[in-house]
């Protein structure tokens, strides 16, 4: 019950947020929150650490940018195109990566993502080091998306949709099987589940949603660049999920918000001049791994369980 109230309050806050905070900044947060939720579906609920999710995010950003800028198709087509492309790449990467587990899985996804990165570096349609700039935002059902506020509610609706999809997936019978695989894969196999199919489906779903996030990001910031696909971005999404709490629904949202806000702060304040963002992020990584493995939401949940016996 308290969970439903929490979600309701959060939604109201997000609806009212542009009154107080710059909408483009909020939209950036939302995109990364969706990205982290998609990633968490895989890490938190299947126990697979992908170190290459930036490839899906980056590919979708490029495809969407290309569809909108060069082909001049409607915004929604661009978003769908980007998501679909990321899903297909997810299928290809997933087919290879699920052949190994644990650390190997992480290394394989990382290496394949790096391959995709090199491809972007050399391909023509990505604009190389400059990236795709000036991606038009277009309109949706007569709603002018050039306007930041209109776009904000458009992005918010899609992100909430993505979040609900992840929520439904995790709490469906399919999600239960995923958790069973996370807890004990041999046992899931012995119960007759075709584990690889479940993993692959989860991987494709996660890649597609990561793609949707990337597609939205290229509409919001009107830019698709190499840094979206770089492995640093893959590391950032791991950090967001870890910091907020992996395997919790709201953790990635909180983590993404924290990391994006922190990056924004370091980029604009004098502190950032002598304290570069990678160092701060790296330090948070180290602290999280050593002392804070459950993340914000995970710790809160543990605390709530202990003191109120809530479930």
């Amino acid at each position: 019950m308290y969970q439903r109230t929490l979600y309701f309050v959060l939604c109201v806050c997000l609806l009212l947020a542009p009154l107080a905070i710059y909408p483009v900044f909020l939209m950036k947060m939302l995109c990364f929150a969706l990205f982290a939720c998609a990633f968490n579906l895989l890490l938190g609920y299947v126990g697979l650490l992908s170190f290459g999710h930036a490839a899906f995010f980056g590919l979708a950003a490029y495809v969407t940018g290309h569809v909108l800028k060069v082909l001049e198709l409607p915004t929604i087509v661009g978003l769908l195109g980007g998501t679909l492309a990321a899903g297909l790449l997810g299928l290809a990467v997933g087919l290879l990566a699920i052949r190994r587990q644990g650390i190997y899985f992480a290394m394989i996804t990382l290496a394949l993502a790096q391959m995709v990165y090199f491809f972007f570096l050399q391909a023509d349609f990505t604009g190389g080091e400059n990236g795709l700039q000036g991606v038009p935002r277009g309109s949706f059902l007569g709603l002018d998306l050039q306007d930041d506020l209109n776009l904000y509610y458009f992005v918010l609706a899609i992100c909430i949709g993505g979040f609900v999809l992840v929520y439904r997936t995790v709490h469906s019978p399919f999600g239960q099987v995923l958790k069973a695989i996370r807890e004990n894969e041999p046992r899931a196999i012995s119960l007759g589940y075709e584990v690889d199919r479940y993993k692959l489906l989860a991987f494709v779903l996660s890649a597609s949603l990561a793609g949707l996030a990337g597609a939205l990001k290229s509409v919001v910031l009107q830019l698709a660049s190499l840094s979206d696909a770089h492995w640093h971005a893959s590391g950032e999404v791991v950090l967001m999920t870890l910091l907020g709490g992996m395997g919790t629904m709201l953790g990635p949202v909180v983590g993404a918000g924290t990391v994006v806000a922190l990056q924004n702060y370091l980029a604009s304040s004098p502190v950032g001049v002598w304290l570069p963002a990678p160092v701060v992020l790296g330090a948070i990584f180290v602290v999280c791994v050593l002392a804070f493995r459950r993340g914000f939401i995970g710790e809160l949940q543990a605390l709530a369980k202990k003191s109120f016996n809530l479930s």
């Binding site: 290879l96 190994r100 650390i103 790096q114 570096l121 050399q122 990678p278 160092v279 790296g282």
Partner: protein, 294 residues
């Protein structure tokens, strides 16, 4: 004499270049494999430690008057000691957790180390002079090979094979192999396993630093020199499989050659060829060429 309309000397020249890259892959993947064998941790900071090796050598010349030959010994010791410090203070807290946390921790360390150096020295490279005795070039008939590059190949081969011999033929190496198989049983026999883990991590890091010193005169010393290299090395390690020390050396050198060859035949693909090979190997032999399915 031509092959696929490409003059043979060009192919041979690229093969030699590939062998040089392969030497670095071999040194780095050997270090990763040794660390992984005993600690079950993928050392993401390996690239940063390689960069650290090159920078410490550069500091040595710049501020302390330590020449190249001294640096070749002293730098791996210094950086290896730093690695041992990291292992004792940070990594050792994670051995009871999922091994993925080790990957994440070292990733964080890599970000910190690289970030600090970018902040202090910017992203541009610092030149490191080639030692006097290794200047000039050898005439191989089909190309002029700078003496220094020939030295890199020889030095890395000697170090790789030396490490292999230590692991396969000495008592210390036997302990290491036993620890890789079953560290609890080894501890029951009275071997100080935690100390051994620390030394092993230090040795792996020292190998990375050694590679860094070797690289300093060829590639300029820059904070970013290790960050992309390390991902290629990860792919090398996946291709070779983690099971075998010799496997990581052979795969490293072999893939360097393949990459060199690709540079002549289809230059655009040279950045991605190793990853493509990785994908193919995963399809055919998921455990890697020399790996054992566990």
């Amino acid at each position: 004499m031509d092959f696929l309309n490409i003059p043979l000397p060009a192919i041979l020249a690229q093969l030699v270049v590939g062998l040089i890259n392969g030497s670095f892959y071999a040194l780095l993947s050997l270090g990763l494999a040794i660390i992984f064998g005993l600690l079950n941790i993928i050392n993401f900071a390996h690239g940063a430690q390689y960069m650290l090796g090159a920078f410490v050598a550069w500091f040595g010349v710049q501020y302390l008057g330590v020449n190249y030959w001294a640096a070749l010994i002293l730098v791996p010791l210094t950086v290896g000691a730093f690695g041992m410090l990291l292992e004792r203070t940070l990594l050792s807290r994670l051995y009871r957790e999922d091994h993925l946390y080790g990957l994440l921790l070292t990733f964080g360390l890599a970000l910190i180390i690289e970030g600090v150096f970018v902040q202090l020295y910017g992203v541009s490279g610092k030149p490191y002079a080639t030692p006097e005795s290794l200047r000039g070039a050898l005439n191989l008939g089909f190309m002029f090979l700078p003496k220094y590059r020939a030295w890199v190949i020889v030095a890395s081969l000697v170090v790789c094979l030396g490490s292999w011999l230590i692991i396969e033929r000495t008592k210390l190496g036997a302990y290491l192999r036993a620890g890789t198989e079953n560290s609890q049983l080894l501890q029951a026999f009275g071997v100080n396993v935690p100390l051994m883990i620390t030394l092993t991590y230090g040795f792996g890091v020292a190998l990375a630093a050694f590679a860094g010193v070797l690289a300093a005169p060829i590639f300029q010393v820059s904070p970013k020199m290790g960050s992309d290299l390390i991902i290629v090395v990860f792919a090398v390690v996946v291709i070779g499989g983690m099971g075998s020390i010799l496997g990581s050396i052979v795969t490293g050198l072999g893939l360097g050659l393949v990459e060199g060859l690709t540079k002549v035949i289809w230059p655009q693909a040279s950045g991605t060829v190793i990853f493509v090979i990785m994908a193919i190997v995963l399809l055919i032999r998921p455990a890697g060429l020399f790996g054992k399915e566990k």
